[in-house]
Structures are given as structure tokens and as C-alpha cells.
Amino acid sequence: MEKLYESQKLALWYFWTAIVLFGAQLLFGLIAAYQFINPDFLYGTLNFMTNRMLHINAMVVWLLMGFIGGIYWFLPIETDREVVGIKLGKLAYFAFVGAVAIVVLVYLFKQFGSGDFFTLWFITEGREYIEAPRWADIGIVAVALTVAYNVIATTIASKKITGILGVLIVDLAALFGLYIAGMFFTPNISVDQFWWWWVVHLWVEATWEVLVGVLMGWLLMHLLGTPRKIIEAWLYVEVMLVFGTGILGLGHHYYWIGTPEYWLGIGGFFSSLEPLPLVAMVVHAVYDAGVHKLQTVNRPALFWAFAQAFGNLFGAGVWGFMHTLPQINLYSHGTQMAAAHGHLAFFGAYVSANLALFYYILGKTRVKEGYILNGVPWKIAYIGLIVGIFGMTAALTVAGFTQTMIERATLGSTWEAYIQAQMHPWMEEAFKWRLFFGVVFILSYLVLLYDLITAGKRVEQLKEAQLAG
């Protein structure tokens, strides 16, 4: 095995931290899901609002950490040199982890504060996904700037800029810059939510998609030997399609927040077109799978890469399209329909990508040349996680349909209508099944964790390479 660059060692730190936070995400998700069934559980001690906040914040942070790890892994390979300023990068890692730890402890033990700016600066900002207190926001920006500096300075020092690096740099600038759009207070909720969606949507439906495109591009290039020109052409096509539909597709969040009616048309039009490129891209994924006959030195990485292509299509494309038209969304907005779509989309687009990357990196660090990373536990985890997420999504879809039809379309969207729909047998069953599949998911995560820790270390997994060419 080759000696690792310092940057690649940092990548490993990021990935291990990410996996631990993934576990934290699941733990708090499990508690929250249980509270739907038994609302008295930890009532007054650890309320739903705190569990949910920890669930979604852990998710955002671990996915980002995984992406940053992927950047640190591939950057020295792409530039053929050690990363410039890597010591600063490592310092930023410790600052990041320290900040996350403090924020989590405050969430857990303080939970909320009085209605003033002190609370927003040091306890919580109370805005979904970006609840992190302002001091931590500044810390995140500092970490982000360090990562950007590492990428840009190393690129400059290598004296050439590949197409992939070009896309990465522009995308990182946008990604990190957008975070700042959420760092302000306004009493006007329409303005608040307008800019908030610039962060959330243009992250997960634009800049994160392109970042994953870059990382998966590097993965396929190094794992499958796909020629650079194909990766580049494909990456540019993806940027064109994702930004082409996603930037104005942002309008599908501007139907009901007080913003003008033209967003109903613009948002609805572009987001109803969003699945078309996803259907197209899956053809390429099948081609790649076929060309390599699913054979490679690293089966889990390959399989998770395919899960990414298909998961993106189903979670984002299918479930997203179902409720994107404004005529429908008027009734499904703010229901479990959004949760159903969100869970599958995030798993398909981002969790799969991170797991593919992590397995790839583990393969490079643990498996000798000429041997295959394979085995049984990763397959169990793979099937279990996919079954788990589809089960949760199906249950939440039933809940979403129920809420849309009963609370909104029939009973008039009032407080009482909400209660009636929540008490409906379909709803109650849906939450039970969601919890069941959540348990399946978390057990599969434990198998995954076991496999990640032991992958490549057990002799019986290693076989002689039998790849044809």
C-alpha cells in the first residue's frame, strides 16, 4: 500500500468522525420516532424538539464532514503533491469537532433560552437545519475557508487546474458562501424564510449535488479507471442539468411563504422538469455497471456508488415530483410527505455517496495490491440499510397521504384537523412501521460500523485478484 499524504490521514479522521455522528443522528432519530408512538417518553426532559434538532444537525454535519474527507483524500492525488497548509487544515478539524461537541452539549443540557440575542448567539438560532448558535456559524465559516484555502492554494502550487478541480473550486465558493445567507436575524418571517431557502435548497439541490458529482467522479476514475475526459464531460453535463433545473427550482419553496405568485409558475415548471436529467443519468450508471460486470477490487464502494445513482432518482426524482406541483403542494406542504421525500432523497443522494467514498478509502488503506475488498457483513448492512430506508419512506408516504387527504383536503387544515388526522388509524400504523424500519436501519448501521472497523483486516476476506484486464 502506498504511503499516505498528510491530507489523506486527515481525510480518515473526518470519515471516522462522520461515521460516529451518523450513529448519533440515528440514535436521536430513534428516540424522536419513538416519541411519535409514546409522547410521554422523556417528555419534559428531552423533548421531541431537541431530539429532532440533534437528528438533523448531526446529519448535516456528518455528511459535510464526509465530503470534506473526500476532498482531502483526492486533492493530493489530483494535484500530485501534498496539500498546502495541511497543518492549518488539521487545526480546523479539531476546531470543527470541538465546536460540534460544545454545541451538542448545550443543545442537550440547556435546550433553549430566553427570547433575546444571547440565546441566538450561544444556545440556538431555532431555524430548522441551521439551529447552530451564531458563534458556531462563525466557526463553521472559518473551517470552510480553511478547506477552500487548502484546495485553492494546492491547485495554484501544482501549477495546473484540471476541469474537475475547476468545478470543485467554483462549487465550494458557492457552497460555503451560501451558508452566510442564513447568518442574520430578521423579524420578518417571509424574508427569513426566503433567504433560509437560499441556504437549504441551494445546498442540497444544487451545490451539494455538484460536490457529490466531483467526489463520485474522482471515485469512478480511480476505482474503475473511467477515462478523465468522460468524467469531465459528464460532470459538466451534470452541472448544466442540476444548476439548470435546480437554481430556479428553488421557487418550489416560494409558493406559500408570502412571496409573489410568479414563483408558483417558475418553481413548479423547473422542479417538474428536475426528474428528467435524473432518469437520463441512471442510463449512464447502468452502462458503467455493465461495462465492469460489477467486478472491481472494491465491491462495497462500487455497490454504494450505484445505490447513489438509483437512490437519487427515486428519493429525489420520484418522491420529489409527486408533491412538487403547486396544485398538489398546497395540500401536502408541511406534512409527512416532505419527511418521506427527505429521508429517501438524503439517503440516496448523500449517505450512499459518503459510504461509497469511505469504503473506497478503507480499501486503499487496508487492502494490499492485487486483493479484493469484499466480504459478507457489508452486504448485510447494504441490504438492511436500503430495506430500512425504503420501509421508513413507505410508512411516511402513507402518513403523508393521510395528512394531505384528511387534515388538509377534507377537514380544513385547523388545529383540530391536525389532531384528527394524526389519530387516524393509517397514521398510527404508519408511525409504528416507521419505527420498526428505523430499528432495522439502526441495526444495519451497527453491522456497517462493524464492517468498516474490521474491513480488510480479516484474512478470509482477501482473495486472489481475478479481474480480467
Binding site: P39, Y43, G44, N47, F48, M49, R52, F112, S114, G115, D116, L120, I123, G126, R127, E128, E131, G163, F185, T186, P187, N188, S190, D192, F194, K229, E232, A233, Y236, V237, V239, M240, F243, G244, I247, L248, L250, W256, I257, G258, T259, P260, E261, Y262, L264, G265, I266, F269, F270, L330, Y331, H333, G334, A338, A339, Q403, G412, T414, W415, Y418
Partner: protein, 226 residues
Amino acid sequence: MSVGWLEVVVATLFLSVVVSLVLARGRHWLEPGFWKVAAVITSSVMVITLILLSVDTVRKVSMGSKRVPQPSVINREIGYVYNPDRRAMEPVFGKEVGLFGKVWSEEEAERLIVRGKLVIQSRNCMDCHTLLGNGAYYAPDLTKAWLDPKWERQIMPATGAKSKEEAMKVFLMHPDKYPTWFRRMPNLKLSEEEAEAVIAYLKWMSAIDTNGFPANFPEVKVSQTQ
């Protein structure tokens, strides 16, 4: 400025395709360079369009605009009725009735609204409730909470309060004492002044024109007496 959305859509798509094709002249369509041009042009057209639309939108949702009222609207009766021309429900405003027994000046109302938003953010309301439909789904949407029939029907009798806003205040300060079903709101230690600010905020928020969300809501006409 009235922007026709279909024109915007057609223009952005047309520009992206045409400018890309012009600038990518001479490059083979199977070469990365061709798609690099398409990616840069398409992204730029879309981003510029978004920025222009955002400037227009932010102006149209500033406080005191047609869509988002100024804070002193909390002094007025607020209703929600179906408009057949728009095919959507919209807020309507009635006579001056004050809030908590007084008429608030514009500055006082603004201070209340600012405080209300700070309280809402400090207590993480969005991680159980939805506001304008965004948030978590563990508790009801609060967009039209001010107009919800439950306050008069259930909470006023339960708390013995003499007005809707007093009932709301008692509820918000001790939600654990007034469960409406088996999922209870936790006590978030709201002071009386914080509770009043939140209620003012909910009243103000219910006056925003949300293009008819939530739909199907029981109409509240402003001549209606409580």
C-alpha cells in the same frame, strides 16, 4: 413590475440553449469543452435570473408591502376568506380592536414583533411546529394559529380566560396543563411578556398573504364578532 412567469421560464431556457450553442461553436459535442460552455452559460443565466427575481421579491415582501403587513396590523381584526378570482384564500383586515386591551403604536408593535420572533427562535418552535408550512411535523402548523377555532371552542373555556389572546397567553405559559390530545406541548418557561410577544407575532403572521396556504380553512370574516 409584473413579471410573467412563463416569459421568464421561456427566456431563461432559450438564452441558455442559444448562447451556449453560439459560444460552443467549433467544439465537438462529445468533448468536455462543449459541455463546459453549456454548464457555465446555463448556470450564469439561471443565477442572474434568480438574483433579479430575488431583488423584486424581497421588495414585495418587506413589512408594509401588499403581501406582508406592517406590525401595527396587530391592532386590527384579521380574517381569512376565499377569493374566487384568485382561486385562493387571502387575509382581510377589519376595524381597529387592539390587542391585550390596548392599541399599539407602530414602534411599540414593531418591538413586540421583534421580541416575538426572538422568542420563537429561542424556543425552537420550528422543531415541532411548522411556520408557513416549514418546520417539523410533530405539532400543528402555526400560519393561521391566530384564527384557529380551537381557542374559542376549547381553550377559552378550559382556561376561563375572557378573551382569545388571554386564553392563548395562559396556554402558552402552561401548555402542559392544557393537553388537547395525547401529544402535549412542553413547558418552555415563557414569561408573560414573552407570551404576549409570541401571540402578537402569531396575529401578525396570520395577516401575511401566503397565496392561499393553508387551503380549505374555515373562513373568518372580519365583521364576525367573537
